[in-house]
């Protein structure tokens, strides 16, 4: 009897304590304290939030994705379907084949080098081939500070961070995949302020064997990239650095499938403030990378040979 009474009293006390702590005001105070702590927790301890973030974005996608589609359909430059068969369309296709040609030429050079290395008895790791996957941009980041794009990927696509690159309009490099979950991945555009510096080449002229100038480009944060360009003495007058020239990626830290993709065109040529005798260029991508609606993901296939694209040209 005594034990029964004691248990009842214990339950009553516990109910009072729990009830007091579950008061909305106290709960709100506890939630705010937890949020302040989380706000200041170092990034390396916040990996768990990524799961909740993906869940939230997946739940919101039924609204944000149709809206993005409608916006892409309404705003100019959102889709190229209307341009099919026009001069611009054919120019883009020619550009795509030029990219393919340049990549194949690089691949040819790589294979020649591989043969030489094999002849010398050096084992070289095989390259990677890629498959291309069209994917929709589900949403931009909801914060003003971030330019990351959320892209919906089919289940089992095999998108891997860093190794997968995203392109638009066939040849324009968009950026690398920063993180990936089962259905969504985050792409960091090359123009985003947080993107790393990249190496490229300015192609001086239209011919296949036109001279190239190496350049190092950093995002400016306003949709362009800028950086110093190498100065090569003895170039003919007709083959100087000019506005409108294409800049292509030639950065060994990027995946092989991204090499020779277009970074943009030279928009402005300034003198380098650090080295007055050298020049600095401002490069603008062919399209506004913050407004793209559809991207093509170039996913490396492990164990494949060569850098060519599967399922047609880019």
């Amino acid at each position: 009897m005594g034990a029964w009474r004691g248990g009842r009293r214990y339950r009553a006390v516990m109910a009072r304590v729990v009830g007091r702590w579950l008061e909305p005001r106290r709960l709100l105070g506890a939630a705010v304290a937890a949020l302040v702590v989380l706000s200041l927790t170092p990034a390396r301890h916040l990996a768990f939030a990524g799961w909740f973030g993906t869940l939230a974005q997946t739940l919101v996608a039924p609204v944000s994705h149709p809206v993005s589609r409608v916006v892409g359909w309404v705003t100019p430059g959102g889709t190229r379907a209307a341009a099919e068969g026009t001069a611009d369309d054919w120019r883009d296709r020619a550009e795509a084949f030029e990219t393919l040609y340049l990549r194949e030429r690089e691949e040819n050079a790589r294979l020649r080098s591989l043969v030489e290395d094999l002849q010398a008895g050096v084992a070289i790791a095989p390259g990677v081939s890629v498959r291309q996957l069209s994917a929709s941009v589900v949403a931009a980041s909801s914060d003003l500070a971030s330019g990351l794009l959320t892209v919906r990927t089919p289940a089992g696509a095999g998108v891997t961070p860093r190794a997968t690159v995203a392109i638009v309009e066939g040849v324009q490099l968009l950026g690398t995949v920063d993180s990936a979950s089962a259905l969504l991945c985050q792409v960091r555009p090359i123009t985003d302020a947080s993107s790393p510096r990249l190496e490229g080449v300015v192609i001086l002229g239209d011919s296949r064997d036109a001279p190239r100038l190496l350049c190092t480009l950093s995002p400016t944060g306003s949709g362009t990239l800028s950086g110093p360009v190498e100065d090569v003495a003895g170039l003919p007058e007709s083959q100087g650095l000019e506005r409108g020239q294409r800049v292509r990626l030639a950065d060994p830290t990027w995946p092989a499938s991204a090499q020779q993709l277009v970074i943009g065109v030279v928009e402005r040529i300034d003198s380098n403030p650090d080295q007055p005798l050298r020049k600095q260029i401002v490069v603008r991508p062919l399209v506004d990378l913050s407004r793209v609606r559809e991207v093509v993901l170039r996913i490396p296939i492990a164990g494949g040979v060569g850098g060519g694209a599967e399922g047609g040209g880019p």
Binding site: A140, S142, S179, D192, A193
Partner: protein, 188 residues
């Protein structure tokens, strides 16, 4: 206040915010309005204080979770907290002045949205800026962000005024007690 109605409308508002942001952004400046903040302001103008506070925390937390911040060495992180606290402060400010406001005027929602957006974004800006002091590798440049957030707050006011035109007709679904009807003077 009906939590279900608020949840559904918040879901739509967040989807619209994520989907429309690139279209509403002013070029590559990153200046873009919020659709969620005017909703939080609207709720804070009409709902009981505690309900408004929880609504603001929920909306802010969802914004934080759909907000991947790039890391300097590559990768991204989501920081739960900055916008949740920012919107909580914005909602608290709104509830404290709502007695002086003409609640059924879209211009009121527009004006209060500007103030609320300033409070929310500058709080988030400060909390993210503090992380730089101890070398957290998030890619966040406080200088340009400050001006961008102030201009985005003004832009949010414009969107808030338009959003109010949608929210007022559907105010009944929220189940606000004050929406039952105007107060009447009772003679003693």
């Amino acid at each position: 206040m009906s939590r279900l109605a608020f949840g559904l409308i918040l879901w739509v508002a967040l989807g619209l915010e994520l989907g429309l942001r690139p279209a509403l952004a002013l070029g590559p400046t990153g200046i873009a309005p919020s659709i969620v903040i005017p909703l939080v302001v609207f709720v804070a103008m009409h709902a009981p204080g505690m309900a408004a506070a929880w609504a603001a925390v929920a909306a802010g937390l969802l914004l934080d979770l759909t907000f991947p911040i790039g890391l300097e060495g590559g990768g991204e992180v989501r920081v739960p907290g900055p916008m949740a606290i920012g919107l909580l402060l914005a909602a608290a400010a709104t509830t404290s002045i709502r007695g002086m406001l003409i609640k059924h005027n879209p211009l009121t929602v527009a004006a209060v949205s500007v103030v609320a957006a300033l409070i929310a974004w500058l709080t988030a800006w400060a909390l993210l800026g503090v992380r730089g002091l101890y070398g957290d590798p998030i890619s966040f440049s406080a200088g340009p962000e400050f001006g961008r957030r102030i201009l985005s707050s003004l832009y949010t006011g414009v969107v808030g005024g338009i959003e109010a035109l949608v929210l007022f007709p559907i105010a009944g679904v929220f189940g606000f007690q004050s929406s039952a009807g105007p107060r009447r003077m009772v003679p003693r």
